[in-house]
């Protein structure tokens, strides 16, 4: 039994409750499922070019070594705020790609150990942030919005505050 095992019940429970409630109301459940699913397919098709576009940009940025280079260049600035320089690639890539961030964290955990300060901070940052840019681009793109005003700025600003809060919380709880 893992500590998270109760979450295994959420999805089966939701599906069962939905079907039972539907049947009790004499909803043609399969027909309705198919009708809703068709909408999901239409939407999913529209997402394909959006996702491929983001993957190309993030992948090229990371695999060319540009990510590591930018992180190195920005290190002094962030060291001033108290961030260990090793954490920078994670901060830069996290808003853009969950998969890439997971790769970076796995490396950090292996290199520094999961219970080191860097390892703890990386885990807290991953746990408290979102793939902000990816989500914003996907959500806005899915309904065809081109003028996003300050929406993306606000989200990225939220990431920055989240990182600072993660640094603070990790320092207070684990360094004391």
């Amino acid at each position: 039994m893992t500590p998270l095992s109760w979450t295994a019940w959420i999805l089966p429970g939701l599906v069962a409750v939905t079907l039972v409630a539907g049947l009790r109301r004499r909803v043609p459940v399969y027909d309705e499922f198919v009708a809703g699913a068709a909408e999901g397919v239409r939407l999913g098709l529209r997402l394909i070019p959006l996702i491929i576009g983001i993957y190309i940009a993030v992948g090229l940025f990371r695999e060319s070594g540009a990510l590591a280079w930018v992180a190195q260049a920005a290190a002094p600035v962030l060291a001033y705020a108290g961030f260990p320089p090793e954490i920078l690639p994670l901060m830069l890539i996290r808003p853009f790609s969950n998969a890439a961030a997971m790769g970076v964290i796995a490396e950090l955990l292996q290199e520094h150990g999961p219970d080191s300060f860097v390892g703890l901070l990386a885990s807290v940052m991953q746990g408290s942030s979102e793939t902000t840019f990816y989500v914003a681009a996907l959500y806005l793109g899915s309904v065809g919005i081109r003028r996003s005003l300050h929406a993306v700025h606000l989200c990225l600003l939220g990431d920055l505050v989240g990182y600072l809060a993660a640094l603070w919380a990790t320092s207070v709880l684990f360094l004391a």
């Binding site: 394909i48 491929i52 070594g65 807290v124 840019f133 899915s142 005003l149 300050h150 606000l154 989240g162």
Partner: protein, 193 residues
């Protein structure tokens, strides 16, 4: 903003690869990344198909109305411009619930559904609405009770207590959420929305 960042990442990649004398990498990276993007997109397509189907059944069964009534008092002050009982509120509530529970698979389809409903209220379809900005901000800094991915990665790396980061992660995401919501309030007021 999206366009600028997108182009900047690609150009930085090309320039850096060129400086390193490794331009060939650009070609392979573009197509291998496009292929993995397609895999992710097809996976998401399958997930949105399932969730859109299920949520339609749930809507017909009256479950979503019940949920909407339950959660409306909490969301109302955040989204004053959404009409009472509008389906976008339900989708937003489901998205937040899925995020809080760490059900990433469910959060995205509900979020997309919320955007679709919000777009119906949009008088200028090419421009983002205040409600959408609030929703995106909330989503970007959503407090997660169970950062399942981070805990799993730590367990894999052999941490003594993989779940020890849950507390600080909740504090950090809570702080970020509070902050973006305050800034959002402030921009709404100053721009006269």
């Amino acid at each position: 903003m999206v366009n600028t960042i997108w182009a900047a990442m690609i150009l930085a990649g090309i320039v850096y690869a060129a400086v390193q004398g490794n331009v060939g990498l650009v070609t392979t990276a573009i197509f291998s990344q496009a292929a993995s993007g397609l895999t992710v997109a097809l996976n998401l397509l399958a997930i949105t198909t399932v969730w859109f189907g299920l949520s339609r059944v749930a809507a017909r069964a009256g479950l979503l109305d019940a949920l909407a009534r339950l959660i409306a008092p909490v969301l109302r002050p955040l989204f004053p411009d959404i009409p009472r009982g509008h389906p976008s509120l339900t989708a937003i509530a489901l998205n937040i619930a899925a995020n809080v529970l760490g059900l990433a698979n469910a959060a995205t389809p509900f979020g997309l559904q919320a955007m679709k409903e919000l777009q119906r209220l949009n008088p200028r379809p090419d421009t983002v609405t205040p409600a959408m900005i609030t929703f995106l901000a909330l989503n970007s800094a959503c407090a997660t009770l169970l950062p399942a991915t981070a805990v799993a990665l730590r367990a894999q790396a052999g941490a003594r207590e993989p779940a020890i980061i849950i507390g600080p992660a909740a504090i950090a995401s809570g702080a970020a959420m509070l902050f973006v919501l305050l800034v959002d309030r402030w921009t709404r007021r100053t721009s006269g929305w």
